[in-house]
């Protein structure tokens, strides 16, 4: 774990850190990754990964319309919106 890796994953996560915190974060991540590296000691060849404790396929149901249009309610929670849309800074010049 070096500063370059931390910079890459910070960007992937859309997070930024000031210089002061960068050092601590790098150190913390290094320790955590070292800690989880003990998983290497186990032989897992031919072991099917367990993604969820429920190993059942989700049930299907009839596609009945139940949701109402609650546009106003949802837009009310937006940091910036007009009558119909969420507003963000201009993307296309």
């Amino acid at each position: 774990m070096d500063k370059e890796t931390v910079a890459t994953i910070s960007y992937l996560s859309r997070l930024s850190f000031d210089k002061e915190n960068e050092e601590k974060i790098t150190k913390d991540l290094e320790n955590i990754i070292k800690f989880v590296d003990q998983l290497d000691s186990v032989d897992t060849s031919d072991i099917e990964p367990l993604k969820s404790p429920l190993e059942k396929t989700a049930k299907t149901r009839n596609d009945q319309i139940s949701a109402q249009n609650r546009k106003e309610q949802f837009l009310k929670n937006a940091p910036d919106a007009n009558e119909d849309y969420f507003l963000v800074p201009r993307v296309v010049e």
């Binding site: 890796t5 931390v6 890459t8 994953i9 910070s10 992937l12 996560s13 859309r14 997070l15 930024s16 850190f17 915190n21 974060i25 913390d28 991540l29 320790n31 955590i32 990754i33 800690f35 989880v36 590296d37 003990q38 998983l39 290497d40 186990v42 897992t44 072991i47 099917e48 990964p49 367990l50 993604k51 969820s52 404790p53 429920l54 989700a58 049930k59 149901r61 609650r70 309610q73 949802f74 009310k76 929670n77 937006a78 940091p79 910036d80 969420f86 963000v88 800074p89 201009r90 993307v91």
Partner: protein
């Protein structure tokens, strides 16, 4: 007559006999909330609505199971028209347009939600120190943490303000604070309680559950909280028993497993003594203890710290400053908006876990970390499946020790190891309960019982037997008011 420290069962009987009115009960509840404000256990109160509901109940009495019972809701469940922050600055202004299924189930059964309890930010923490809204104090001692992440819920029940609160448990967040605060908390089988309206942390591990003074009250709440929910694809479509039935059935002849690989010699010898005393207590009730081997169980915490951050980094990508939640001031462009909104909205622990998640999911590391952890997760589940061929339940201490002082655990990994005994049940999706079983330096300690899939009734029965024959769950903390 004071309502403090009363159970659901006792309050229901007081309401039915009109010893107290619904309004008086709620009024006194809010007096207690204010008296113990120094616990910092609530983020948002629902006082006006709650008192109105109580008044309505006095005018139109109902015979619903939880009629008039005040309950505190963890601020991780969305509540219609009531601010829901998940302990984060990111959601400091979020007013949900709907309620979680669990909240609906509880309110439809007549309970009154009195407010939203403080918690570790997005449920990521074991001490309630990561909340944007400040630490919660453990009623058992000044400066002591209540555990986490459901620390506010545990503290309000321990202080006797409400008989019960909701919690959620991703790696121990119900059981660990229950142990440190001297109350009872159960994490049901994964899928028993709908996750719809729970703000997601790690979707394959998250599970809601009740926190209360007694196993009996937990059973009453389980009856209401569990449901099959078509809005949650991981919701179990299994028979839901009456959890209050058979609670006092004798447990003679029951076999409880002690995990060989949990090295208790590393714990404080007094902690071990409390655990041994609990075993003796169960032996006096006719239980037989058997050693079981779960060879991979000590890899649970490292497995968890790959799986949970991976799922958290995906789940928390929704907080982008566009549709709801915090947005930074004057973003230069869309990218700046994303990055600054997230960097300002999330605290350090949440950021740390998002970064680990992004790392273990990134190209080149996916197989080495994420896939590997899921494979080890399978081995841990297999270990449990095998153990349950020989025993009915598994017992361990809930935590490595009693509540510690705020600020005393600065190393993230030491904090992660706080969940050593609780994380395995989440990885395997199994039900687990923590009950008060002793005390050390006047601070409570708990034992954890883990059951096989869907065996919550058995867990509650075994816990109730302990509580019928001991008084640890009845002890009350030396509260200071402010």
């Amino acid at each position: 007559m004071s309502i403090q420290f009363k159970t659901i069962k006792e309050l229901s009987s007081m309401l039915r006999s009109k010893e107290v009115s619904n309004y008086e009960l709620l009024q006194e509840t809010y007096q207690l909330v204010k008296k113990y404000k120094n616990l910092n256990a609530f983020i948002t109160l629902n006082e006006e609505n709650a008192l109105k509901k109580a008044r309505d109940l006095d005018n139109n009495p109902s015979d619903l199971t939880l009629s008039g019972i005040p309950i505190a809701q963890k601020d991780l469940f969305v509540t219609k028209d009531l601010r829901t922050t998940c302990g984060s600055n990111m959601l400091s202004n979020f007013i949900p347009p709907y309620s979680a299924t669990v909240i609906e189930n509880l309110e439809n059964a007549g309970c009154i939600s009195i407010g939203k309890t403080n918690m570790d930010e997005f449920a990521m923490g074991s001490s309630n120190e990561t909340s944007f809204y400040g630490n919660v104090n453990n009623p058992w001692g000044e400066k002591l943490v209540p555990g986490g992440s459901s620390g506010g819920s545990a503290a309000v029940v321990a202080a006797g303000i409400v008989p019960a609160a909701t919690g959620t448990d991703t790696g121990g967040s119900i059981r660990q604070p229950a142990s440190l605060c001297g109350i009872t908390g159960i994490k049901p089988t994964y899928g028993r309680i709908s996750r719809w309206g729970m703000i997601a942390f790690a979707s394959s591990l998250d599970q809601a559950g009740p926190m209360a003074r007694t196993a009996e009250d937990c059973a009453i709440l389980m009856n209401v909280m569990c449901s099959h929910d078509i809005k949650d694809t991981t919701s179990l479509d299994e028979n839901i028993p009456d959890f209050t039935k058979g609670l006092d059935a004798p447990i003679k002849g029951l076999k409880i497993g002690i995990v060989k690989e949990f090295d208790l010699s590393k714990l404080d010898s007094n902690v071990v003594k409390v655990f041994e005393d609990s075993k003796k207590h169960y032996e006096s009730l006719g239980v037989e203890f058997v050693e079981v081997s779960l060879p991979n169980i000590n890899l649970s915490v490292p497995t968890y710290y790959v799986v949970a951050p991976a799922e958290c980094s995906s789940n928390l990508s929704r907080f982008d400053g566009v549709k709801f939640g915090k947005r930074c001031n004057d973003p230069a462009d869309l990218e700046d908006l994303y990055i600054r909104s997230r960097s300002e909205g999330f605290g350090d622990e949440v950021k740390r876990r998002i970064l680990i998640g992004s790392y273990v999911l990134s190209a080149g590391f996916y197989d080495a970390y994420y896939k590997k952890a899921q494979q080890v997760r399978r081995l841990i589940k297999n270990d449990f499946d095998n153990a349950f061929k020989y025993v009915d339940l598994i017992m361990s201490p809930t935590t490595r020790g009693t509540a510690f002082e705020a600020g005393s655990m600065s190393d993230p990994i030491q904090m992660y190891l706080e969940d050593l005994f609780t994380v395995p049940a989440n990885l395997a999706g199994l039900p687990g309960i923590s009950i008060p079983s002793g005390s050390l330096d006047s601070k409570p300690l708990g034992i954890q019982l883990i059951g096989n899939s869907l065996q919550e009734s058995q867990l509650l029965n075994v816990a109730h037997n302990f509580q019928m024959t001991s008084d640890w769950h009845l002890r009350t903390p030396p509260l200071r008011s402010k």
